[in-house]
């Protein structure tokens, strides 16, 4: 029974699906494709924002770790994914990633530094790998990594700089919105007749 339930969960969440639409090109070359990637791919942008919010809420040390761990892991995952012959999408797993990160932001609990670093590395490896399979290219991945660095630096630093009590609550509310979005993403994934 447990095996059957486990197999069903794998089928629901882990199996990839046909890539109907993923990578958008700007026509300005691979580096700019990478730089603009997050503006055109919200399924990658939202988990990054969630992680940056989480790192910012946790403090400067966490922000510094996320700042370097995420781009490096993203780049490594992307380079691994480049060797794949076909594009891979895992929308349910992407939604679950966002769900977990959004929930951590909303809960605002003190987390071990290693856990946040591990989350950043896992997120980077997973999404970078998916980008790699989408043939973003090595230069494109460099553009992505550079944008990630700037994005995480800006968002985490902004959250760290917040002093008013209500502003911390606003960040937690944003986390709850990310949870809600991720749940709707899951709903779309398993939409009846969809």
């Amino acid at each position: 029974m447990r095996t059957a339930v486990g197999a069903a969960l794998v089928a629901l969440f882990l199996l990839p699906e046909e890539a109907r639409a993923h990578l958008v090109t700007t026509g300005l070359g691979p580096v700019y494709d990478g730089i603009s990637h997050f503006a055109l791919t919200p399924e990658d942008l939202l988990p990054v924002l969630a992680l940056a919010l989480l790192a910012g809420l946790s403090g400067p040390r966490y922000g510094r770790v996320a700042l370097f761990a995420l781009p490096v892991a993203w780049l490594a995952g992307g380079l691994l994914g480049l060797s794949r012959s076909s594009e891979l999408l895992m929308p349910a797993l992407t939604a679950l990633t966002l769900l977990a990160l959004g929930a951590l932001v909303a809960l605002d609990r003190k987390l071990p530094l290693g856990l946040v670093a591990g989350l950043a590395a896992a997120l980077g490896l997973f999404h970078g790998y998916l980008n790699g399979t989408a043939k973003l290219g090595a230069l494109g991945l460099c553009g992505v990594a550079a944008t990630l660095f700037v994005l995480v630096a800006l968002v985490a630093a902004f959250v760290i700089s917040l002093r008013a009590p209500w502003s911390r609550i606003a960040v937690r509310v944003a986390g709850s919105w990310l949870v809600a979005i991720s749940m709707l993403m899951l709903g779309w994934r398993f939409r009846a007749g969809g």
Binding site: A21, E43, M183
Partner: protein, 186 residues
């Protein structure tokens, strides 16, 4: 050895309907007065209750609403959705009118319970062929903004005349909820 059966080649590198998806999602929660009044009332009631309810209620509502929306998207039937939505406006209006102060857990459970009906209705009404993610972003942002509007309106609670105005607004929401209920039951 063949790869996993669902692993297929990329069909297209385009993302159709994204703006329509976001805008449709943004407009959907404000397309029905019953939804709008209930969501603003949640914010107003939270402001009346003060911290931590002022942020806990608007945090609870979108998350549980999204759960309801997910259930609706998956095709799970929920009886009496329109009646539930109408009752939510009626009850929330009465709570604002009475400046009710139940225990925090009760307030959260009540708001969460109503959010399921709102979410389910939205989930079953979502149009086919939209960008699911952008639709969801627009949908959640619009819902959150309605709560924020309610909280902003509720800030007048600090003045005695503001408290009276809020209670009057609660009475109007309750009356509108009663009208929605009559229509749903007709």
């Amino acid at each position: 050895m063949p790869r996993l059966p669902a692993l297929l080649i990329a069909a297209a590198h385009i993302q159709p309907g994204e703006a329509a998806g976001f805008l449709t999602g943004l407009l959907h929660p404000i397309s029905g007065l019953d939804h709008v009044l209930a969501m603003i009332a949640v914010g107003v009631w939270g402001a009346q209750l003060g911290p931590p309810a002022v942020w806990l209620l608007p945090v609870t509502f979108p998350m549980v609403m999204a759960f309801g929306g997910t259930v609706g998207l998956m095709g799970v039937a929920l009886p009496g959705v329109e009646v539930g939505i109408a009752i939510s406006a009626l009850v929330l209006g009465v709570l604002v009118l009475a400046e009710a102060r139940p225990p925090l857990a009760v307030a959260v459970l009540l708001v969460g319970f109503f959010a399921i009906f709102h979410g389910h209705a939205h989930g079953t009404e979502l149009p086919q062929g939209q960008s699911g993610l952008l639709y969801s972003i627009g949908f959640v942002v619009a819902t959150g903004c309605l709560h924020a509007l309610g909280i902003a309106l509720g800030l007048i609670h600090r003045w005695s005349s503001g408290r009276v105005a809020l209670r009057a607004a609660g009475a109007m929401v309750a009356l509108a909820g009663l009208g929605f209920l009559v229509r749903a039951l007709a």
